[in-house]
Symmetry: C3
Subunit: 379 residues, 3 copies
């Protein structure tokens, strides 16, 4: 029913090391465009969220997958999407990504597809990334007392570690990355939990810096990879307090646990993140979310990341959330930008074609397969 103007999959396997579910229900135009921005407000007067690099990239890559010409007007695209329905749109878009493994952050789930549903639409496999703050908040919701909370939390983390392939923290949002790097003392944790639970209502978010650190250290003890939001995000954030370099002392302190740290997003501090991946064997980096938002500039940002980042320390992700379009846009931008960048270096004699292929495989899948202990996809 649709014409595809692109081959349906990337020319190489893709492990999406950080992503989210997509909306289960039909979306209004306003709901759709809200997923195109990190802003939590309507677009400024006289502007639309389609007039962004992400908006233009989406219009480039998605319409052909739904049988429309590239760059068609947003209204045509949204009409076509409504006509096809949510399930068919999901199938057509996700099926075109070539992602074999989805590492889904399950910290946000209301109204979203499950990891299994998301992966199934692409014929891929689902894996879970457990979000630490959500885990703590759920534990607090049910624990009742401070004592019960503190007793149950490590078990909840260990239990999550049995099924999840990694953890994620949004301490950047809840406090900033300029937190005290040291493992908090038990007495300090007890006092903080007392304070938090004394006034907490179910569903309240965790902002206490001592408990946030306690969570990070509890997760580190499992030695599963720990993903950290760094760099830009929604306006809850103070961006200059999300500079991954603020983690330097924590990076050092946590090294003896054997816990790998994965710096997510990182923009506009991606060069600093790449430095940490260069300087510390247990640090990895990622440009998910970033490539999606910078659109036509994806190659430039990828190139900056590939200045100091060892090639085996950068991993592909989409950070897609809410819209299957974001999976398509992220994978197309990444594939296109990386290919073009490395082809350029090969053409000028700086790299060999064989090295370019090896590095492409590392970033796209190999490093994530090793780090998260995934079985390589069987063709």
């Amino acid at each position: 029913m649709t014409t595809r103007e692109e081959p349906p999959t990337a020319p190489f396997a893709l492990v999406d090391q950080h992503c989210h579910g997509v909306a289960r229900s039909p979306l209004t135009t306003r709901q759709f465009t809200a997923y195109l921005t990190e802003s939590d407000s309507p677009a400024a007067p006289g502007t639309t969220f389609f007039d962004t690099q992400l908006g233009f990239a989406l219009r480039r890559w998605c319409p052909p997958l739904l049988g429309l010409p590239a760059h068609c007007p947003p209204a045509d695209y949204l009409a076509r999407r409504a006509e096809l329905g949510t399930a068919e749109t999901l199938r057509l878009l996700l099926g075109a990504t070539g992602i074999t493994d989805f590492l889904v952050d399950t910290g946000l789930s209301d109204g979203l597809t499950t990891p299994e549903e998301t992966a199934a639409a692409a014929g891929g496999r689902a894996h879970e990334i457990a979000r630490l703050e959500t885990l703590a908040e759920r534990t607090a919701d049910t624990a009742g007392t401070c004592r019960a909370f503190l007793r149950e939390l490590p078990g909840a983390v260990r239990e999550a570690a049995r099924t999840a392939v990694g953890f994620k923290s949004v301490v950047a949002y809840r406090h900033g990355l300029d937190f005290d790097p040291a493992r908090p003392a038990p007495e300090e944790v007890r006092r903080a939990a007392d304070g938090w639970l004394a006034t907490r209502k179910p569903g309240d978010r965790l902002h206490d810096p001592v408990l946030l650190r306690h969570l990070l250290w509890t997760a580190a003890d499992t030695a599963l990879p720990l993903q950290l939001h760094t760099g830009f995000g929604d306006p809850d954030l103070r961006l200059h307090r999300s500079d991954p370099l603020l983690l330097t002392d924590f990076v050092r302190a946590v090294a003896p646990t054997g816990c790998p740290l994965v710096l997510l997003h990182t923009y506009p501090y991606h060069r600093g993140a790449a430095y940490l991946a260069h300087a510390f064997p247990h640090v990895y980096t990622d440009v998910g979310l970033t490539l999606t938002h910078v659109g036509a500039r994806a190659g430039a940002v990828l190139a900056e990341t590939l200045e100091l980042a060892p090639f085996g320390k950068l991993m592909f992700s989409t950070d897609a959330y809410g819209l299957p379009e974001l999976y398509v846009t992220a994978t197309r931008l990444y594939t296109h930008a990386l290919t073009r960048l490395l082809d350029g270096w090969v053409r000028e004699g700086a790299w060999t074609a064989g090295d370019a292929r090896r590095v492409t495989e590392m970033i796209s899948a190999g490093t994530a397969q090793r780090l998260y202990r995934l079985d390589p996809a069987t063709g």
Copy 2:
């Protein structure tokens, strides 16, 4: 009498949303070159301010407008300029910019052309941007007492708002952008004014952080656009304290007033400024001054800004000051760089030609016309 090797105007209308007057009198070589740098000292031994990206760009674009070959030696250019005289030079250079509207910061005016004179030389229209600190200093010069100063200041701001299309603050120079974001309490303002006026001599600059904040909040209450110097500038500045991200909490606090914030210059923090324009509907950004100084690199810096900035949130300006040459250089660099950048994206299929035209119009004129409520220029 002169040959123009370029069409006299940009291929699209230009609203210069932040600029200054130019020198009325003939300039010595040393006075001329002092306008080519943000430094307040003579050039280092063995160097000249012409050996910079700005110097090379000026030599590229200006000599042909005065009948000389592009890239002619500085001495030839300065001799020709002296021969033509200040008024004719002004007319030849400004007339070639294609700027239809000049939003002139009147905070610096000694020995400079008025907004009307500047605009007239280009056949354009003049608008005023009132500089807050200058306004406060003039009020202090005449008010005499603390009580009179505090009583007269809001009126002076409101009076300025009747004729100006926006305000500007140089709090980045006077304190840094890491100021307390909250509106200061009246008692706090009174104490600060007391302290300042007790020792102040006429002409003394305002550096008191409480009064600087009081000014910002007083301006915000008018809901006129408020321009803020951010990023690089002269050596008075501590550049790392001019990072626009330091304004994040002020951006949030001021939102309910309805006052749009315009981040000027922003380099090398232009990606962070673009993030604020992305995350907050009332934030706009600009790369005036920056494109002029980075010369052949204008396209690269513009491209970085267009990563996260929504296309309807970036505005053209020259920040030209002192020399009409800076108007020419800024407009040529901008026009050339933007055209080339967008043509590249169109050629590779990332953007359509129609979208490129729309975005060019937004950045060059449309957004400023809407934000500052200017009538569109009539052709």
Copy 3:
């Protein structure tokens, strides 16, 4: 015996304004690869330090100088190197760099070639850069008492100034660049020296912030150029505390001494460093170490530096350390990137070919010859 696929020297003279000796003894593979990274740990599981921009650049430029094809496997290269022996490898590699003057930081010397040996291998001249912290530590090793230390230190600095062409400080490592900019009072220095020497064992490093400042000011008094490590380096460093902009107040304070400051490395803060070189006549900048590590991206980083840096304020260096390969890689990357960058600007009409030649000469040799008072090399 070897085929050279490249002309043996750069097409212009090169003064290497900051470098180190190379290993005198044969190296194991692990020792060799440790010099390819700023990390002090083994490579992460499944990765190798050859899979980096530096690794790929080395494989591009060095094998042909030892008679092997470009991009040959690392094992082949290391075998060939072992077969040739350390002295012959040194001669073949350094002889191909075209460096006429080596300004060698003698702060690290164990097992390394002397400045004279290093320069001799290339047919160049050796000059010394005296490392301040090493000088203070050696003085402390022999002085015995606090009184003797404080009495001998200024003499040791002045003595070094008789033979060295400049000083270097690693205060970025020992404390961070966010130090108090003021010259410490004598009493403050005495107390700090008392404290340090009371517990110090021979060989212990200097970390006391007062003594570090005292050293900087003592060196500034000689008016010799003072090189400062800024930006990235080994994991001892907190990168965000090595931002050269943190030096702004020190830059201002030290101006009256007439001491030029040279900001080394600077990445990823090279734009801020370029701003300081723009704003202050006594500040110079450098991208040694950086170009080496970013490999195929050398041109991009150089271009960013050449946005605000006046062309007479940027100097070439390799920061080569341990491996003669790093001299080759740094010079080839620099020569190649600069030529390509400037040729591009000439081709598009932004610069003239004559200006490009002049600027190349300034960055490559001229500015360093003037600043360090070197005789121009005689062809």
